[in-house]
Point group: C2
Chain length 84, copies 2
């Protein structure tokens, strides 16, 4: 069993209105030191070991479903997990 | 300037319908090896160095705004960032 951590973030050049809204709220709450906020997704997948190469598979499913590669970047880490 | 990476995840005991939906889609796409999907948030904050202790401040703003601690856990990492 593998535990895969996937991070999906908006590309640098893409506006992040959700991040801007959070930054606005933080400023109103008195945290003026916060200069930028970018919001992305964090996903944890548990994947059974099989015949397929896990790294190639995760890359494929990020491309096909988990990230929109037109506006988002992704990266992932694969860890050994204890089977439950 | 500090770069703070914040990870917000649903607590173990809380159902994750978004994760279940993604897992259902992955199964339909032929990725039956995926046994579990949990979806959380990943945030990057750029924070100006000031008088306040950054660690205490980030903890405070996670509690107050970024995470709903009733159903979510959070953790964060603070890195030195190059000022732009």
């Amino acid at each position: 069993m593998k535990k895969v951590k996937v991070y999906v973030t908006l590309r640098e050049s893409v506006l992040d209105p959700q991040g801007s809204a959070v930054m606005g709220s933080l400023h109103k709450m008195g945290y003026g030191e916060v200069e930028d906020v970018r919001i992305g997704k964090y996903m944890e997948l548990m994947i059974e070991d099989g015949e397929r190469n896990i790294e190639a598979m995760v890359d494929e499913l990020c491309h096909k479903l988990l990230a929109n590669t037109v506006i988002e970047d992704y990266r992932f880490e694969i860890e050994e997990a204890v089977s439950q």
